[in-house]
Subunit: 266 residues, 2 copies
């Protein structure tokens, strides 16, 4: 048992969908969240820049006394996870392996579509992890760079979002996709729209929920779960503050308005 | 006469629409362009962060020996221009005054719509400059945060872009807009789509063209124009490199593919 907080970071506030999933599953855990809003988005940046930013994010969380870290950012998980794990001496979990596990948990899964930012797709991290486990799998990748901005506008079922989804998904549907992996922490908010568009025959796998489940198992195996008598705290740090970020944060967390603290990384 | 280069900067590559307009009008000028792609977009960041970034951008350009600077970024012009002018001893021009001048050049202009990023609208810089000159003007402001991402995808007449434009423009049309000010350097690429959507009765004013005209007048008045025998050079610096940025840069400049150099600001 260990009542130190968990550290969770993302390039922005999208990773709060992971915080929400973790709180739902592990309500006794304290959490320190860092959103690097001054430098978002990571998805369009180069791998070396992403690794440098992720390293700074992790150092900040370690300075706050966290017991384990979740990289709640697909781009950073793709490009920086192994470097972070090599550099630091505490458990660091990404969002990719849990998503891949969940997609393959159904043995009927034959044709997996992946939607994500351009950076995540270009990293081939999901494609690589899926192919290693199931060489016969058909993997259909689709960069969907406009979905995160559309979600940040709360245009969850706006005609522009439907038109963008149709353009992104049609090539995957044409090739018989049976499972769609939502490889960006923003995308869980699109699940109702996607269910309506795709119907019941296509399975949706989202990285926030699957990451929380993986974290629970991992913490339990290391005896790092917080005791039931722990009074959980939640600290929200952002590298740049704005009303818009606080509004978005509350929406991603599905919570009342909350106050963020500004932090400078160096 | 002065053959030193002009410095032009933006948060990303959108400001290259200004470079294109300057080259069309002033073909003898050498240009050093800086795009702060590692930290884009500025539009969602706080005023103090934007001022700090803009100061670093200007220092870099000065270190390259420029004779004058264009802030080819509406967000930075809105929040940082007066601080930059106070801190530095060379001509620094923004994109706001030229756009306002051009909008008001037609005395028939009564109802001006402004579309821009959230940061530019929130700054009220355009609204303020317009109202100072023409207190009777009806000013209709509309944040349009998704247009820049849609343009970066080259979805210039995609159904998603049309749907977004309809949502953004309908409230302005309902209030009788006669002039639409495109207050973001990305937006000149949408002119054909906007002309189709809005018809011939609504005048479009874009900040790239108007800024180049203003620059010409200003340089001439200070005797800083390059001599006709100058062999112009063009240097493109970005704080983060990616194929995507080089592709976009060529598209905004309407030029063949070009090579950017990476620079770190500090």
């Amino acid at each position: 048992m260990n009542s130190q907080p968990l550290g969770i970071f993302d390039s922005g506030v999208g990773g709060l969908t992971v915080v929400k999933a973790v709180r739902d599953l592990l309500p006794h855990e304290s959490i320190v969240y860092l959103g690097d809003t001054a430098r978002l988005p990571y998805g369009s940046k180069s791998p070396e820049t992403i690794r440098q930013f992720a390293e700074e994010d992790v150092r900040f969380l370690i300075s706050r006394g966290v017991k384990a870290i979740v990289v709640a950012c697909n781009t950073a998980s793709a490009h920086a996870l192994s470097a972070l794990q090599a550099n630091h001496n505490l458990p660091i979990i990404g969002v990719i392996e849990p998503g891949v596990d969940a997609a393959l948990a159904d043995p009927a899964c034959q044709r997996v579509g992946i939607i994500a930012t351009r950076g995540t797709i270009r990293s081939h991290a999901y494609q690589h992890a899926l192919a290693l486990r199931r060489p016969d799998l058909l993997i259909l990748e689709q960069p969907a760079p406009l979905l995160a901005p559309l979600i940040e506008e709360n245009w969850l079922d706006h005609p522009a979002t439907i038109a963008a989804l149709q353009t992104y998904l049609q090539p995957l549907l044409d090739r018989g996709m049976d499972t769609l992996l939502l490889a960006c922490t923003h995308y869980p908010l699109l699940v109702p729209t996607l269910q309506k568009l795709l119907g019941p025959d296509i399975r949706l796998v989202d990285s926030a929920t699957t990451c929380a489940q993986h974290l629970q198992t991992h913490l339990a195996s290391l005896d790092l779960l917080a005791p039931a008598e722990n009074t959980p705290t939640f600290d929200l740090f952002l590298t740049d503050l704005s009303e818009q970020f606080e509004l978005l944060a509350a929406r991603f967390l599905n919570s009342p308005p909350l106050q963020a603290k500004r932090v400078e990384l160096s």
